[in-house]
Amino acid sequence: RERKNVLFIMADDLRTSLGCYGDSVVKSPNIDQLASKSQVFLNAFAQQAVCAPSRVSMLTSRRPDTTRLYDFNSYWRVHSGNYTTMPQYFKSEGYFTMSVGKVFHPGIASNYTDDYPYSWSIPTFHPASFAYEKQKECKGEDGKLHANLLCAVNVTEQPGGILPDLESTDEAVRLLTSRANDHVPFFLAVGFHKPHIPFRIPQEYLSLYPIEQMSLAPDPNVPKLLPPVAYNPWTDVRRRDDVHKLNISFPYGPIPKDFQLRIRQHYYAAVSYVDSLVGRLLITLDELGLTDSTMVVFTSDHGWSLGEHGEWAKYSNFDVATRVPLIFYVPGVTAVHDWLGGPTFPFIDVLTQSERSFKNFKEIKNVVELVDVFPTVSYMAGLRAPEPCPDISFQEELCSEGDNLAHTFRHRERG
């Protein structure tokens, strides 16, 4: 089988609030367009709803009890086992592997190198403007700058006149361009920082979600029979200046309703912002003639509770925190070449064409897991999927604790 390039796109804290997952509020036309030519896994779940454990689990295809990473404070190769990662596997098979933005969780969890050189052919690109992400860059009503949760900004007024995900997209486009005419297949992973908090996003995306049209979560209260151990008190949100000022009681809150509406407005706006960046990557594939030779995977590390159960975070086992988008575009399999020559993924400006809608090409309703991604991407790209792990696999460098979902692309779903 011919080997395909891989464009692997990850969002951060993106729940299934997308048009292609049935969300009627969000405006995500570029991701919906991708889904219309892809296989969409409607019920895909992360193994642990927090960044580093989930990303390491997905990228090694091992569950947290095998990576033994439950926090942000260890590197799996020295802490549990020298497990081969998905990009490392592609690299070992002759691919040129590249990483932009947040793919691995930075810091000790990826050995302060994003697992370079094991996983990547070149060092990871990190946007310089991320240095300002948690600083006082949000203009408040008092005209001063604060470290707010709600942080819609005029990009031209930000340090460097840019935001991290815009910078990452520029770099990803540059890397795609540099590889377009090379005979060596590539694996490019692009990790966006949004819609993770703070919602430091271009302010124009807020206009897509007028506050008077926003609604609260359908179940905004902490359920009466929820065991206290299952609840998370969303301390990262509480620490932001604008939330801290609300003087919300710990641990159960609640956040005032008008502020809840604004959080939801900003989250949705952040999703539309990410959608526009995904659209830029996809039209770049078209412009470079790569659409027919590149599979595209779109997913997230986990979800986020938008007020459901009185929570505003991941950090739980609720479906809103663990369920993720998982979309596979495989040229020749989920879509056929358009011989009329039109672009496969024309860019849709969500700010002017927000009402564009699409129908999914194929949906899989059965539950799947992010540990399934490694074997499935490998197989669908034209490599052999790693073998299933034995029950105890600490000494096994290359194996998978997930399933190869390739059969779902060929057969109708059962059950």
Partner: protein, 97 residues
Amino acid sequence: ENEEAIAFSQYPRPADTPQVNSDLPNLIDIKVMGYSLRCWDYRYTLWLGFDPKTYQVNVTDVHAGELYLLAGDPGQDKNIYSDSYHSVMMTKLASLP
């Protein structure tokens, strides 16, 4: 391909009640691990004692449980966990990876 599709997740906690580090406890502080299995029609979670030094979970040390039947409760707001379900579901959990 004929097996029931199931997805697992887990989440650690430092204590049975919410505290400042409940969201993201350091490994050494983890005392409880919530293991979830979910399929088409339900989500079942057991919060079990966990030893961060040995990484061992104590399946007899049940701190809490959750069971949501998704057909009538898609938002997972009505926890119907009870001991009557417990033995059946524990058998199922123990037979899975």
